[in-house]
Amino acid sequence: MVDPGWYMSLAAVLFAVGALGLLLRRNALVMFMCIELMLNAVNLTLISAGRALNDLNGQVAVFFILVVAAAEVVVGLAIIVAIFRRRTTASVDDMSDLSG
């Protein structure tokens, strides 16, 4: 059995990649994918911890998260598509209307 530390490390790397991508990229679609990456990094920690501790709750939680995330993706993508149609760009820097 692989040491759970590896899974955790992989999850940490994936989360860091997602977070950096979110902060550095400007394209709304790419940022959205980065968020999904972070989400699934967390899923990975849950499932590996569940396996290491021999506890099914980890897998159950991941199933719930996957289902909810699927719904959330639909809404998020719909918003991005709607914005793209209106502005013909997906760059988030052009969407700073709420600047104080």
């Binding site: 977070a19 979110l22 902060l23 550095l24 940022m31 988030v92 820097d93 969407m95 700073s96 209307d97 709420l98 600047s99 104080g100």
Partner: protein, 628 residues
């Protein structure tokens, strides 16, 4: 007939409402006659309902109409006993005559029907006051007559002096009402009810002397406001700005006597508070003398009568304060007759003189207006206390009762006697200045006798002023027996028993009247230059009297000016700086916090992301720290 007693109030009230809404469709005299008929109807109902009392011994009864506020004993109920019956008869009887007079006097006024709306409303309010079976209804009527007084003093509101006088009357009465209201609260606290039925009979067991004194003095504050006694009398002279029928009805015959009625009605409470009673008597005596001196030097025909009214009300207070309630109520009644007559006569003169009120510009009107002159002469003799006219009997009974009381009340008796002398003097002065001597008016004013609609009430009141006193003479105490059931709970102060004593007292008061009237007549019968020098020989007193001791100026300096100053400080310093400053300061602070905070909101997702991440790291660090 007692079952229909509610009609006494309902008839004038209906008249008021009908004329208010439909008055403009009635032709000019019709609105006035409708109001008169309503008032006369109330009089007829009151007379029929009062007939059983003539047999004597009848305590009357409480008539409940419907429940209003049963928890505090304040229901719509009427107490129909000899005292309220007498008051209702005076109000409706004299009121009806004044209504008739007003139909002629208000001729040609563009708000003719509105005048009668208010006049009828006043009648209803005054009847609520005197017929109410509890203090709540009395207070209701008390406030309503105050409102009507305000409306009618300011009837010609486009004259700024009239609207100022109306406000003054209202505000000064407010001060009195404040005391009255506190008194009523004490009554409620003591008895748990405001109903007469629950108060007077239990008063002896329930009230301590201190509480009774407090209630009595607070009621005196209210009564002094409504009945124009020292120190709250200042509104009445100004109230002469109203049309003359209003002065006659409200400010001479009825409303201003409400204070006397209140004290007489509350006799059972004053019975337990001799101190409060004595204060009432002293206030009354001082007011009588004080106002009489002012009346001497007035030039305005109505102001003489206004101060005279204050003075006569002082007599009534002196009487009820000396617990001579019957004498006080008796004088209230006779005064209603002759003072209403004097005011209406003055109105007739003013009407003929094209609204001239200065007596210096009158004179020689006897031949021009014989009916007005004759009837006013009767009223003048009546108020001067010349037998056998009405004023003699009532004034004499007051003076005799006060004298019989003895001890320091003798001083009040002397004051009363001096006042009687002054009264006779200024009334003779007024009559001579107006009706005798050379005409001092301009030729073109051409005064004529008023129409019959105005002179008929004068004649009726003149008859009452002659015979009105005969209902209660030492030979036949009719009124005393009539009112006895209403004053069973109090120990009445009566006039002395002995014939000799009575004769001496009567002779003294008649002498005061004759001397006063004689001096007045002889002085003012002479040429103007002669009586002017007579007046000047009294300087500087005469000037003080003519300026009414400048009490208005004193009140202005002591009360009005500081009040204004306080209002100014409150409005322009406290309100604009402190209150508004606090509100604006809070608003400004919120605005500045917002200004500082808005720079965080860049609108760039990445900035929010960094903050979010930083926040998450802080939370994790905190949890990690807490865990270890």
């Amino acid at each position: 007939m007692v079952d229909l007693l509610w009609l006494v109030i309902a008839l004038p009230l209906t008249g008021s409402v009908v004329i208010h809404f439909f008055g403009r469709y009635l032709r000019e005299p019709a609105a006035g006659w409708l109001a008169t008929v309503m008032s006369a109807g109330a009089f007829v109902v009151a007379v029929t309902a009062a007939l059983p009392f003539l047999e004597g011994g009848d305590h009357g009864e409480m008539i409940s109409l419907w429940e209003w506020m049963p928890a505090i004993g304040a229901n719509l109920e009427m107490l129909w006993d000899p005292l309220s019956a007498l008051m209702a008869l005076v109000v409706t009887g004299v009121g009806t005559l004044i209504h008739v007079f007003a139909v002629g006097y208000m001729h040609g006024d563009e708000r003719f029907h509105r005048f009668f709306t208010n006049l009828n409303l006043f009648m209803a309010a005054m009847l609520i006051l005197v017929l109410g079976g509890n203090y709540a209804m009395l207070f209701l009527g008390w406030e309503l007559v105050g409102l009507c007084s305000y409306l009618l003093i300011g009837f010609w509101f486009n004259r700024s002096s009239a609207s100022a006088a109306a406000k003054k009357a209202f505000i000064v009465n407010r001060i009195g009402d404040f005391g009255f209201m506190v008194g009523l609260m004490l009554v409620f606290v003591s008895f748990g009810t405001l109903s007469y039925a629950g108060i007077f009979e239990q008063a002896g067991e329930t009230l301590s002397t201190g509480m009774a004194t407090a209630i009595g003095l607070l009621m005196l504050v209210g009564a002094a406001g409504k009945s124009a006694q020292i120190p709250l009398y200042v509104w009445l002279p100004d109230a002469m700005e109203g049309p003359t029928p209003v002065s006659a009805l409200i400010h001479a015959a009825t409303m201003v006597t409400a204070g006397v009625y209140l004290i007489a009605r509350s006799g059972a409470i004053f019975e337990l508070a001799p101190v409060a009673s004595n204060v009432v008597a002293v206030v009354g005596a001082l007011t009588a003398l004080f106002a009489a001196t002012i009346a001497i030097a007035q030039r305005d025909i109505k102001r003489v009568l206004a101060y005279s009214t204050i003075s006569q009300l002082g007599y009534m207070f002196l009487a009820v304060g000396a617990t001579a309630y019957v004498a006080g109520i008796f004088h209230l009644m006779t005064h209603a007759f002759f003072k209403a007559l004097l005011f209406l006569g003055a109105g007739s003169v003013i009407h003929a003189m094209n609204d001239e009120q200065d007596m210096n510009k009158m004179g020689g009107l006897l031949r021009r207006m014989p009916i007005t002159a004759t009837t006013m002469a009767i009223a003048t003799l009546a108020i001067a206390g010349i037998p056998p006219l009405a004023g003699f009997w009532s004034k004499d009974e007051i003076l005799a009762s006060v004298f019989e009381r003895g001890s320091w009340f003798s001083a009040l008796w002397v004051i009363g006697l001096v006042t009687a002398l002054l009264t006779a003097f200024y009334m003779a002065r007024q009559w001579v200045l107006v009706f005798l001597g050379e005409p001092r008016w301009e030729k073109e004013s051409d005064p004529r006798e008023s129409p019959t609609v105005m002179t008929a009430p004068l004649v009726a009141l003149a008859v009452l002023s002659v015979v009105g006193g005969l209902i209660n003479t030492p030979f036949r105490l009719g009124l005393e027996h009539f009112l006895e059931p209403s004053f069973e709970l109090v120990s009445l102060q009566l006039a002395p028993e002995g014939t000799f004593m009575l004769l001496v007292l009567a002779a003294l008061s008649v002498m005061a009247g004759v001397v006063g009237a004689g001096v007045g007549y002889l002085t003012y019968r002479r040429k103007p230059a002669r009586w002017r020098s007579f007046e000047e020989s009294f300087e500087p007193l005469w000037g003080m009297w003519e300026a009414a001791y400048d009490v208005d100026g004193l009140y202005g300096a002591v009360i009005v000016a500081p009040g204004r100053k306080t209002a100014e400080v409150a409005a322009f310093a406290v309100d604009t700086r402190v209150i508004d400053g606090a509100v604006n300061g809070i608003g400004g602070m919120v605005r500045r916090v917002g200004e500082a905070g808005r720079s965080i909101q860049t609108g760039y997702v990445r900035n929010y992301g960094v903050l979010f991440l930083g926040g998450a790291l802080v939370v994790i660090a905190f949890l990690a720290g807490a865990g270890s």
